[in-house]
């Protein structure tokens, strides 16, 4: 980080007590604090929310490609009847890991990346509340993801489906270590999510710029807040489930041993109590993104901001009372099924409110069909299709027919790909100039968008037909003679879906080409290319290390817009007139810059503590000694972390006294 400015000579007072000067180099004796602000060290040991946000995004995109390749393999296998490309065992591993990767290693971390990068900027803060915890969360996610994927090379990946039903995932039916890797890996990424959520909630509650009341917060920040609350309360539930699973498989506990009288529904309940809030964890950040994008490209404020906020919160709340609709076919009994059926129908209401609000935001606006806007509109359309098939699931008799068929696969890909992923891509195109200072190519962007739209509808649309015709999920091969005839021929629609998946992949490829193209010869982005509305655009692009030269004072929702535009009365009624340009606003910031900005300092410990976790996890699977070693690293790392002040002492920031920097100073 290291804003090397001489701090104020007033000693920092710690909590009203006597001044405490703790020199980092003397307290812990192992390492001196890292200080690099350039080069790879500046990334590895950073606690800067922007760098961490980018690393979240980059790592998540890597896993997106991994999960994408897995999807293509699945579709290739199913492209033709009696296909022998993949063995049944490998196929099981592929669909399990495809889902696990896309959910836990792509959508969750990439939205965390957006949140990490943008929330402090949107609320006018200089960093998050717990910068080192933030770094720890990132490393946990990355190491957990890598750990999970090393199972491919260590005897095979998990093969029980992403919800890993019991007793099917017992050691008896799944003898490889795959499920152990799965349970331990998700435990580690769960720690990442939990710490990230604690951090973001405290940041949003506590670090808003003066004047930014909750109802003046940008809508994306609002949706992030709701999601983090879901995470804080949902992660411990899956933690319990994963521990039970691990104890069952590794230590021989009885939890899911039906011979001993176990109830397999226990796993299903724990999993879906987590799992249903989880689907809102996946979709709500994208709802937040399109709620930012649509107003900007419609040149209108978001229609019914309060309704969008409250419906988001309502989704978050009702999302806790619908989990058993994933279990309608498991014999819950008529009362439970009826209750959860009704609650599931209820949750369509706040979701519908959002769709209406977005549509009315565009209504009568001056629409600009940029790529970001196209993706946002794409989300509205595709998500609505997925939402409608979702309503058919809430009707339990209908759901009983659809359970475990491709109809379900069609549904959740429409809401997750057409919803969550489209939102994420809208975010990429919208915020790219902010983050990198360069514009993504709009031409390639249009190719990207249209190939993805066509590809996804060709891939997932036919799955409705396949499912209603009875093709089961997780089916590795289908014989030619059972494919039927005419319009409902399964072979035909499976081939269409597979071709669609390749078109979809081409669309993703266009995005990657666009990124490379932009990095090499992309046009420099103007300061405010979209005429945006929220505070992140008030700083330079890419943002300065300390975000804002002066912490803004907020007076209104869409503060940045109101800084640029004022209402002027004319003969034809009140009109908005541009009173300041983005450049002028930035110049104002720079002219009044705070003098002594003291940013949190980089640290080795988050990464060291995080790396202890996969070591322990490998140890649990392979060797007790390794687990103990990992535990020791964990404990020592935590001690060192606890003893290290998060902001380096003033003396660390001293400029060299006369001449070249002394080595001592540079390494403190």
């Amino acid at each position: 980080m290291a804003i090397i400015e001489r701090p104020s000579t007033v000693p920092a007072l710690a909590g009203g007590g006597a001044p405490q000067f703790v020199t980092p180099s003397s307290s812990y004796g192992v390492f001196r604090r890292p200080v690099s602000s350039t080069g790879w060290r500046s990334w590895l040991f950073t606690v800067d929310h922007k760098k961490l946000g980018l690393m979240y995004g980059g790592a998540a995109m890597f896993f997106f490609l991994v999960g994408g390749v897995e999807a293509l393999l699945i579709r290739t296998q199913l492209a033709a009847p009696d296909n022998t490309l993949l063995s049944a065992s490998l196929y099981n591993q592929l669909f399990t890991m495809h889902a696990t990767t896309m959910i836990f290693l792509f959508v969750m971390p990439v939205t965390t990346g957006f949140a990490n990068y943008l929330v402090p900027l949107q609320i006018g803060a200089r960093d998050v509340a717990f910068p080192r915890l933030n770094a720890f969360g990132f490393w946990c996610f990355l190491f957990g993801g890598i750990f999970l994927n090393t199972s491919w090379f260590l005897g095979g990946a998990a093969d029980g489906g992403w919800f890993m039903y019991q007793p099917n995932a017992n050691a008896l039916f799944s003898p490889s270590h795959g499920v152990d890797f799965w349970s331990l890996g998700l435990q580690i990424t769960g720690i990442a999510s939990l710490t990230g959520a604690l951090n973001l909630i405290v940041t949003i509650l506590n670090m808003r710029a003066p004047g930014m009341t909750l109802m003046k917060m940008p809508i994306f920040t609002w949706m992030v807040l709701v999601v983090q609350f879901l995470l804080v309360f949902a992660i411990p539930v899956i933690t319990v489930a994963l521990f039970l699973l691990m104890f069952q498989r590794v230590f021989g506990a009885q939890f899911f041993n039906v011979d001993a009288g176990a109830d397999p529904l226990l796993w299903q309940h724990l999993f879906w109590i987590f799992g249903h809030p989880e689907v809102y964890i996946l979709i709500l950040p994208s709802f937040g993104i399109v709620s930012e994008v649509l107003p900007v490209f419609s040149r209108k404020p978001l229609f019914g901001y309060k309704f969008v906020v409250f419906s988001g919160a309502a989704i978050g709340f009702i999302g806790w009372g619908v989990w058993a609709h994933h279990m309608f076919a498991s014999g819950l009994g008529p009362v439970s099924v009826a209750v959860f059926s009704v609650s599931t129908m209820l949750i369509a209401i706040p979701t519908g409110v959002k769709i209406v609000n977005w549509t009315l935001t565009m209504w009568g606006g001056k629409l600009r069909f940029t790529t970001a806007m196209l993706f946002a509109i794409g989300l509205i359309v595709e998500f609505t299709i997925g939402g409608l098939s979702g309503v058919t699931h809430s009707v339990s008799p209908s759901d009983t027919q659809q359970t475990d068929t491709y109809y379900i696969v069609a549904h959740f890909h429409y809401v997750l790909f057409g919803g969550a992923v489209f939102g994420i891509f809208a975010g990429f195109y919208y915020w790219w100039p902010k983050v990198f200072g360069k514009m993504l190519s709009e031409t390639l962007g249009k190719w990207n968008f249209w190939l993805m739209v066509i590809g996804m509808n060709l891939t997932f649309g036919p799955m409705h037909i396949l499912g209603l015709q009875g093709q089961p999920r997780r089916m590795v091969v289908y014989p030619e003679k059972l494919t039927g005839e005419g319009f409902f021929n399964l072979h035909f629609w499976n081939t269409v879906a597979s071709v669609g998946s390749y078109i979809l992949a081409t669309g993703i490829l266009m995005f990657l080409i666009n990124v490379l193209h932009t990095a090499r010869k992309g046009a420099k982005a103007p300061l405010d290319p979209w005429d945006a509305r929220s505070l992140e655009w008030l700083t330079a692009s890419p943002p300065k290390a300390h975000n804002f030269d002066v912490i803004p004072h907020v007076h209104a929702l869409d503060e940045y817009f109101h800084l640029k535009y004022e209402e002027v009365d004319t003969d034809a009624g009140p009109r908005l007139v541009k009173v300041k340009t983005a450049e002028e606003l930035l110049a104002e910031q720079e002219a009044n810059a705070d003098e002594h900005i003291h940013m949190p300092s980089p640290s080795y410990w988050p990464m060291i503590v995080a790396i202890a976790l996969p070591i322990i996890a490998y140890g649990i699977i392979f060797s007790k000694v390794l687990a103990v070693a990992g535990g020791a690293i964990l404990l020592l790392g935590m001690f060192a972390w606890s003893l290290e002040p998060s902001v380096a002492d003033d003396s660390d920031y001293d400029p060299p006294q006369g001449g070249a920097p002394s080595k001592e100073l540079a390494s403190v």
Partner: protein, 210 residues
């Protein structure tokens, strides 16, 4: 994890102290304390899940001893009492810390850790005696869920003891980064939480017959 949040110190507060009020927290509340309460709220769902698992499975132990045969209520009552009293000594430590009396703070923290260790010791004794009566971790659904629930609680107490002892060491060498009284208070919150979880476990698991 909680230990990590504890000393994750006061970047903002620091800046606010030194450079004026314009970056002070919006709510005026401490970041650390907010995070700790949120973490405890989250822990409610963790222990809720473990307790529910136990409640579901407590009667399933065909062919091996169950709660009615195993419980040693006098022993558990005493250890519950010990843990309850450790909450008292913890709160006295917090008081002493707020009065900036380092010596007294350390004494009360040490007593708390000692009481906590007594509790863990009793738990180890209990587990061993159950094992000798033929009820191990893998014996039945009841035993797996019982050992998991109380084991998780015991781990929480142990982590608390480690934090208390570390805190004593750190305070006596004056190396607390940040607000000393607040660090004591945060660990106190964690400790009391562990106590209230035991209040629930004592009633639901031990006193209510399966």
């Amino acid at each position: 994890m909680s230990e990590a949040t504890l000393a994750e110190s006061h970047a903002v507060a620091h800046a606010a102290d030194a450079h004026g009020a314009h970056v002070s927290p919006t709510t005026g509340l401490s970041n650390n304390k907010l995070a700790m309460w949120l973490f405890l709220g989250s822990e409610c769902l963790l222990f809720g899940g473990l307790i529910s698992t136990y409640m579901l499975y407590r009667g399933r132990h065909t062919g091996s001893p169950g709660p009615a045969q195993l419980w040693d209520i006098p022993l558990t009552s005493v250890s519950s009492f010990v843990l309850l009293m450790s909450s008292l000594t913890m709160v006295l430590a917090v008081s002493a810390a707020q009065e900036r009396d380092d010596r007294l703070t350390c004494i009360w923290l040490s007593v708390t850790a000692l009481l906590g260790s007594t509790f863990v010791g009793a738990q180890v004794y209990e587990f061993t005696s159950f094992y000798h009566e033929g009820v191990g971790f893998t014996t039945s659904l009841f035993s797996s869920s019982f050992f998991t629930l109380t084991g998780f609680h015991g781990i929480h107490v142990t982590v608390g003891i480690i934090m208390l002892m570390s805190l004593v060491g750190i305070i006596s060498r004056s190396k607390v980064p940040g607000d000393k009284a607040e660090v004591v208070e945060l660990i106190g919150l964690y400790w009391h939480f562990v106590d209230i979880v035991w209040i629930v476990i004592f009633t639901l698991v031990y006193l209510i017959p399966a």
